[in-house]
Structure formats: structure tokens, C-alpha cells
């Protein structure tokens, strides 16, 4: 409990620094909000165009896809708000500038990955929340007590998976310095999570729900809230991804032990 409070205090400090930094660059703040909004819009328009020609994509109707997109946007906003630093990991590992992680107070994973708080992404997060609430408002029982509990669970699953995948992909950089593998893996996984995993063949779908749980970013949370999977199935997926995450964090810490600033 003490460790959790300590890391929450660190998160608050990262957020405070992030807010101060962004208050000095107003143009950049605006451009990033606009561009993220454009990213949302492109996704929405793409699916709306497809649904003008069909009623179902892999069993997902238009209303369900809108909920799916809500989770995709919120999950992305979480990554942008807290985990943007992971994009720079490969370069910083190569440049040998991670020594300070050994000295700072707190888990090196938390201190490194959560250090770049993005205020502008909070605005996009609000847009994503608005979209998800609108998408859910068309579904009966979404805002009942049980519905809200499912929603909180689904969001926690999505955010946890974002963190796990961000950490998982950077492990590749320890093995192949300056390979850009983590960013490529991230881009590929984001591409796969942009669509419901039900469009893929069975074996590939199983891979995306287990070993590399890209499905838990948006497909599984949406399926849980929409009742496409039962709470029991959701609990099993969540338990597995939680355990997987702990394993990934242990693997990362072990890899980091071999880090020296001369790696590059």
C-alpha cells in the first residue's frame, strides 16, 4: 500500500511537470489536440463508409463498432497521456541515457514509462470519453450500476494491457540495439487493434487474445460491455493478462539489469 501511494505521488509530480511544460507551448498544444482529433475522425469516417455498404463486419453492427471505437480512442488517449515516453526508448537505450533510472526512487518501469505526462492528450481523452458515452447511450442498461461496473472493469483491462504491451515491445530493444523493433511492433499491434480481432482467422485471433493480447486493448473490453462475451470469459481473459503483465514486467527488469550506458 505504501509503495502504491509512493508511485501515485510520483505520477502526480509527473503530471505537474507536464502541465507546466505544456503551458509554455500553446501552439504545439493546439496542433496535437487537432491532429489527434483528426485521427479519431479518420477512424470514425472509415467505419461509417464501410457501414454504408454493409450491415455487419465480422458480426459487429454499426452501434457495436461505435462502442469498439470508444474503447480504442480511450485506450489510445491513456497511452498518449501517460506512456508517450515509450516511443523514445530505443533511441535512449542506444544513446545510453538511462543510468539515472537506477538511482531514482521507484520502480524503473514506472519512472521511465510514466514520466512524460501529456496535458493535450487529456483533451483528447475527454473527446474519447464523450464518444464512448454517446456510443453507449444507445445501448440499454449501459449506465446501470452493473453496466458501470463492467465499464470500469473494461477500461482497467484496456489500460493495463496498454501498459503491458508498451513494456513488452521495448524488451526487443535490449536484444537488438537501435533496431527500432519496439516502435515497429507497436505500430503493427496498433494496426491490428484498429479493427475487431474477429475479422482474423481463428489461430491468429487466439494469438492476439493470449500471447500478444492486442485484443484486450479494444475488442475484449467492448465485447465485455456489449455482452458479446460473458463476465466469466472476461474474468478469465483479465486474469491471464494480469499474470502475463507481471511476467512481462519481471522480464523487463531482468533485461534492464544487463544495461550499461555503453550499449550503443
Amino acid at each position: 500500500m505504501g509503495a502504491l501511494l509512493h508511485h501515485l505521488r510520483l505520477a502526480r509530480e509527473f503530471a505537474r511537470v507536464g502541465v507546466i511544460r505544456k503551458s509554455q507551448f500553446r501552439v504545439e498544444f493546439l496542433t496535437q489536440v487537432v491532429m489527434d482529433a483528426a485521427w479519431y475522425l479518420v477512424h470514425i469516417v472509415t467505419f461509417e463508409i464501410l457501414y454504408a455498404h454493409t450491415e455487419s463486419i465480422a458480426g459487429w453492427d454499426r452501434a457495436q463498432i461505435r462502442v469498439f471505437l470508444g474503447f480504442l480512442f480511450l485506450s489510445d488517449a491513456f497511452w498518449m497521456i501517460w506512456l508517450g515516453q515509450s516511443w523514445h526508448f530505443g533511441r535512449e537505450l542506444k544513446d545510453g541515457v538511462l543510468d539515472s533510472l537506477r538511482l531514482r526512487p521507484g520502480s524503473p518501469i514506472f519512472v521511465y514509462f510514466f514520466q512524460r505526462f501529456s496535458l493535450e492528450a487529456c483533451i483528447n481523452g475527454l473527446m474519447a470519453v464523450a464518444w464512448l458515452v454517446w456510443a453507449l447511450s444507445g445501448l440499454e442498461g449501459s449506465f446501470s450500476l452493473g453496466g458501470l461496473a463492467l465499464l470500469a472493469w473494461a477500461l482497467a483491462l484496456s489500460f493495463w494491457t496498454r501498459t503491458v504491451l508498451s513494456v513488452l515491445f521495448t524488451i526487443a530493444e535490449f536484444r537488438a540495439i537501435n533496431s527500432d523493433l519496439s516502435n515497429v511492433a507497436w505500430e503493427v499491434s496498433m494496426t491490428l487493434s484498429d479493427r475487431p480481432v474477429d475479422v482474423f482467422p481463428l489461430r491468429f485471433r487466439q494469438l492476439l487474445t493470449s500471447i500478444v493480447p492486442v485484443a484486450a486493448l479494444s475488442t475484449l473490453p467492448a465485447a465485455l460491455v456489449l455482452g458479446r462475451i460473458t463476465p466469466l470469459e472476461g474474468a478469465l481473459h483479465s486474469a491471464w493478462i494480469f499474470v502475463l503483465g507481471l511476467g512481462v514486467f519481471a522480464w523487463w527488469k531482468r533485461s534492464f539489469r544487463g544495461y550499461t550506458s555503453a550499449l550503443g
Partner: protein, 279 residues
């Protein structure tokens, strides 16, 4: 500047371009794992995912999305992915990093135009990705002849290639402009990523523009991304004709002039406020 000075400056730029090009090619092919990851698979994933999406929509042989059946859509996506590979990639330029870190000043003291170095990256990209695309197309045509697109005619192939190359240069200028914004902003990578995403949509990489609503389609046909990917793919397949090619040349030509003007203005203004101290 005298009349003789202009050709000599041009010759110097061409020589510099050749030297920088060889250096860029050596650099990009030296790093083997990165070469496979970055160069061979670049731009392939999203079209592959879309093949699966369209497979769930175009189930029956009679199912259509606009004028596309599933086979036609796969052929279109193969071409769109191939042409997108030929488009300059944002990661090919690290100008924004150099601005942030204060490196740009060292180029300003050398007797060369900085833009020529960036141009060498563009030429390197086109040459390398051109080779990769030809290789992939040959392998695909051998392994999957039923699905692989064939050019409607030799003329269609040439016209498609011309439009893609001009479109790639337009996109290179856009990437340069986004990087130059580093003179004023402290982060530009998100802008680069989002620009790439919006470009892909406008270019019809995932959903052909002809499938889009009429108003959106009419608008996109006046923008260069459409003529960089979607139109070349449909020219290649014989869905568009010579008149469309000529219109594409006009749109891309005007875009290049406009982007070049903006590039020169932004570059000059950026340098005027630059102190070389990094951000």
C-alpha cells in the same frame, strides 16, 4: 548572381546529391535487422488487415463494395500498399531532431545547401523501395497469380509510375515541412504520425476513394494524396484513363510548386529565429 554561377551551383548540388545518396544507401543497407523490419515490411500491415476486413464484407462472389468485388479489392490493396511503400516515409528525415539538438548550425557554415542532403534521403528511399516493390510484385505474381494485379497496358503502368513518383515528392515536401515546424514546436513526432494517418485516408490506401460518399470523393480528387496512391492504382488496373492521368499531373504539379514555396519561406523564417542551442 551571374549566368555562369547558376550552372556551377547546380553542378555542385548534383555532385553533393550523388555523394550523399551513396552514403544514405550504404547506411540504410548496413543495418540488417533494421533493414528487414523498416524497409521490407513498411506500409504492408494496414492493407493486410483490411484484406481480412473486406473478406468479412464481400463474402459472396456477387457481393460488391462500389464497383469492387473481393478479388478486385485485394488487387487494389496490393497496389495501394506497393505505391504507399514508394512514398517517402516520415522516419527518413531526422531534421526535427537535428533542430531540437542544435545540430543544424554546423550545416549552415558549410558551402552546401542543406536541402540537397534531405533530397538525397528522398532519392535513396525511392530507389530502395522501388527495388523492394519490384521484388515483392514478382514474388506475388509467381505465388498468387489469381490475386495479383496485372497492368492494363504498358502505358497505364508508366502513367501510374509517374503519378506515384510525383506524389512521393509531394509527400517528401510535406514531411520536410512538418520537420521544419521543430523551429517553433518542442515535439513534432505526433504531428508526423497523424499526418501519415490522414494522408493514408485521403490517398485511399485502406478504402478506395471511389467507394466514399460523392461529396468527399469530389473533394479528395482535388488533393495530391488521391493522385499519389488511389488514382495510380486505378490507372494501373484500367479503371481510369489518359485524361485522368493528365488531370493528376496538373494537380501534383501545382501542389509541388505550392509546397516548395512554403518550404522555402518556413526554412528561411526558422533559420532567422534559430540560435542553435536546441530546445
Amino acid at each position: 548572381m551571374s549566368g555562369a554561377a547558376v550552372p556551377s551551383a547546380l553542378v555542385r548540388d548534383v555532385r553533393l546529391l550523388a555523394v550523399a545518396l551513396v552514403y544514405e544507401l550504404r547506411k540504410v543497407t548496413t543495418w540488417r535487422a533494421g533493414f528487414v523490419v523498416r524497409e521490407l515490411m513498411r506500409g504492408m500491415w494496414r492493407p493486410i488487415v483490411m484484406v481480412f476486413v473486406y473478406r468479412t464484407i464481400l463474402v459472396q462472389p456477387t457481393d460488391r463494395l462500389g464497383s469492387y468485388d473481393f478479388r478486385g479489392m485485394v488487387a487494389y490493396l496490393v497496389l495501394a500498399a506497393s505505391f504507399e511503400k514508394l512514398l517517402f516515409h516520415q522516419r527518413g528525415l531526422d531534421l526535427s531532431d537535428q533542430i531540437f539538438q542544435g545540430y543544424v548550425t554546423k550545416y549552415l557554415t558549410m558551402p552546401l545547401r542543406f536541402f540537397v542532403l534531405a533530397l538525397a534521403r528522398f532519392v535513396q528511399h525511392v530507389l530502395l523501395q522501388g527495388g523492394v516493390v519490384v521484388l515483392l510484385w514478382c514474388v506475388g505474381a509467381l505465388l498468387l497469380p489469381y490475386w495479383w494485379p496485372q497492368p492494363a497496358s504498358a502505358l497505364a503502368l508508366v502513367e501510374a509510375a509517374v503519378l506515384v513518383l510525383l506524389g512521393s515528392y509531394c509527400y517528401f515536401l510535406v514531411c520536410f515541412l512538418v520537420n521544419v515546424l521543430a523551429f517553433w514546436l518542442d515535439v513534432v513526432w505526433t504531428l508526423s504520425a497523424m499526418t501519415s494517418f490522414v494522408f493514408s485516408f485521403c490517398a485511399g490506401v485502406l478504402v478506395p476513394v471511389s467507394v466514399m460518399p460523392a461529396m468527399l470523393r469530389d473533394t479528395l480528387e482535388w488533393l495530391f494524396p488521391y493522385w499519389a496512391v488511389n488514382a495510380p492504382a486505378e490507372l494501373f488496373l484500367g479503371r481510369l484513363g489518359h485524361a485522368d492521368f493528365l488531370r493528376g499531373i496538373v494537380v501534383l504539379g501545382l501542389t509541388i510548386v505550392l509546397l516548395e514555396l512554403v518550404r522555402q519561406i518556413l526554412w528561411r523564417r526558422g533559420l532567422a529565429k534559430y540560435v542553435g542551442a536546441g530546445m
